[in-house]
């Protein structure tokens, strides 16, 4: 690997910690970001010449802090600095910083940085771009591309998000254990949203949107390193890895969705599967089940099945049952119905989902599943009706095309 590549990777890896620490120090997101940017520019010059420092993150925090102090002093003419005692007590000494790197301070820094992106006032459409910009350091151009909007529109969205948070919205006090657990849960949910932004994209959008899924995996790994004993974080990491492992098999050459049971399992990424399974194994030892762990256990049963026929559907049925009790939702019941259809037949599954119709009347997958079950028990007229409603509710052309395939096979009979 060339120096430039190494430096690039080191800067990317250091970013969340460094920006988090700079934010704690300066208490201003823009100043923290600029300070980090400035430190990166200096790193490019200095590291190429003198070789990498022993601790790149500590170096960046130290250099970034010093260069931003000048900026802050200049700005101080317009606005007063926070009083000295609320500024953090970072020493003017690289070793002291390096020693604190593994400390709880830094964990809280990164968590705070992620947490301000899930500010309750921000809609998801702003949370995700903000996290990608501030925490991951993607350029506005890259983010705009992934969200299929213009660069200026994205710039505006991020600026608006930042001003909505303001400085008042950033929680600087050290969180107590309950507060920390709540922040961690909010951040985990946001990471899952980022993942789905990339993962749910159609084949034609994969090239620009799949980096979002990769970024989510990088963020969950970061959380996992910070909180290595949290079974739900292990569960979410496993879930993302296991879902992502199927990426290469999810679309055919024409860009049509290939359903799980028809996927070529040789295309699944074994390394990701192994890592996911290892994390589930670790999580299970804690005997503290949670929704992410259960979802990842379901994904694991698919990953472990050599062929679609080998899938342990009765275990999947049980796991969905547990998930339903933990977080009741008609969508989970609908998913469980797919497993029930395999274990107890389509009629039993239909009985399970019919009471959901009112609540899922606007949900594409409900009518897709319902149509499929009706078709299997020969109620073709009703099946056609359900499929037509599904097409009307389809979110993407690929979804509609998939349902049309069923309608075609019905009209052939």
């Amino acid at each position: 690997m060339t120096d430039a590549n190494w430096i690039d990777a080191a800067l990317t890896a250091a970013r969340p910690q460094a920006v988090g620490a700079l934010l704690r120090y300066f208490r201003n997101l823009d100043v923290a970001e600029e300070a980090f940017q400035e430190a990166c520019v200096k790193a490019l010059k200095n590291w190429t010449k003198n070789g990498p420092p022993r601790d790149p993150t500590a170096w960046l925090i130290f250099v970034g802090r010093n260069s931003a102090i000048d900026v802050v002093r200049r700005q101080a003419k317009q606005q007063p600095l926070p009083p000295e005692e609320v500024l953090s007590d970072l020493e003017d000494n690289e070793t002291a910083i390096a020693e604190k790197i593994d400390g709880a301070d830094y964990r809280d820094d990164i968590l705070r940085l992620l947490f301000i992106c899930c500010h309750p006032d921000l809609p998801a459409t702003q949370q995700i771009p903000l996290a990608l910009r501030i925490v991951s350091g993607l350029s506005v151009k890259q983010i705009a591309k992934a969200f299929l909007v213009s660069e200026s529109a994205m710039e505006q969205r991020i600026t608006r998000a930042k001003s909505r948070i303001g400085t008042g919205g950033i929680p600087f006090e050290t969180p107590d254990p309950i507060e920390r657990a709540e922040r961690l849960a909010a951040v985990a949910a946001m990471v899952y949203l980022i993942f789905n932004e990339g993962y749910s994209a159609a084949a034609s959008e994969q090239a620009v949107r799949s980096p979002l899924s990769d970024e989510a995996i990088r963020l969950i790994r970061l959380l996992l390193r910070m909180y290595p004993t949290e079974p739900e974080i292990m569960g979410l990491a496993a879930l993302l890895l296991l879902q992502s492992s199927r990426s290469a098999a999810r679309f055919d050459a024409e860009g049509e969705v290939v359903l799980l049971e028809n996927q070529d399992r040789k295309l699944w990424n074994r390394e990701m599967i192994n890592e996911g399974l290892a994390l589930i194994d670790k999580a299970m030892r804690h005997r503290q089940p949670g929704p992410y762990q259960i979802q990842s256990a379901i994904a694991a049963l698919h990953a472990r099945a050599a062929t679609a026929e080998d899938t342990d559907w009765s275990e999947i049925d049980l796991l969905y049952g547990a998930l339903e009790r933990m977080t009741p939702s008609p969508v989970i019941t609908l998913n469980r119905a797919v497993a029930v259809a395999k274990v107890r037949g389509p009629a039993a599954a239909l009985t399970l989902i019919e009471p959901l119709e009112e609540r899922l009347s606007g949900y594409f997958h409900y009518f897709g599943v319902k149509g499929g079950l009706l078709m299997k028990i020969g109620r073709n007229g009703e099946a056609r009706e359900a499929f037509n409603r599904a097409i009307a509710l389809a979110n993407t052309a690929a979804e509609a095309a998939h349902i049309r395939m069923h309608l075609d096979s019905l009209s052939k009979e």
């Binding site: 690997m1 990777a9 080191a10 890896a13 990088r218 390394e271 890592e275 994390l279 670790k282 030892r285």
Partner: protein, 124 residues
């Protein structure tokens, strides 16, 4: 004389490599490995999954303590390794427990799943 070469690097940095960069590094390493294989000088080669997938069994007076992740104590050095085939983490922990009974006292065993494994063969 057989030598073990243990690889140390920053996981954060390696984790920030793109897939292309990672593939390129692995390809260059494969060239070196191929050469050594032809000379009959390459034994087992393994790449481990990230430390986040690790579990540590720490020896203690009575019942060993099981910790998530690697053991952070740097006063101990990497002294050797086993490659064992297990169906689950629990099986691997059972083996580590047996080892800790056979070799009691201080120290710990880190259980890290292997992501790439090439058994290889040396002339000696």
């Amino acid at each position: 004389m057989l030598y073990a070469i243990l690889c140390y690097n920053s996981e954060d940095v390696v984790g920030a490599w793109s897939k292309e960069e990672d593939d390129a590094v692995m390809e260059r390493l494969a060239v070196v490995q191929e050469k050594l294989t032809k000379q009959g000088r390459l034994g087992p080669v393994a790449r481990l999954l990230p430390t986040t997938a690790a579990t540590t069994l720490r020896k203690s007076g009575s019942e060993p303590i099981i910790i998530d992740g690697p053991f952070a104590e740097t006063k101990e050095q990497f002294l050797g390794f086993y490659v064992v085939d297990c169906a689950s983490l629990d099986e691997a922990l059972d083996i580590a427990k047996e080892l800790s009974i056979a070799n009691p006292g201080t120290g710990s065993y880190e259980i890290r799943p292997i992501s790439i494994f090439r058994p290889g063969q040396t002339k000696t």
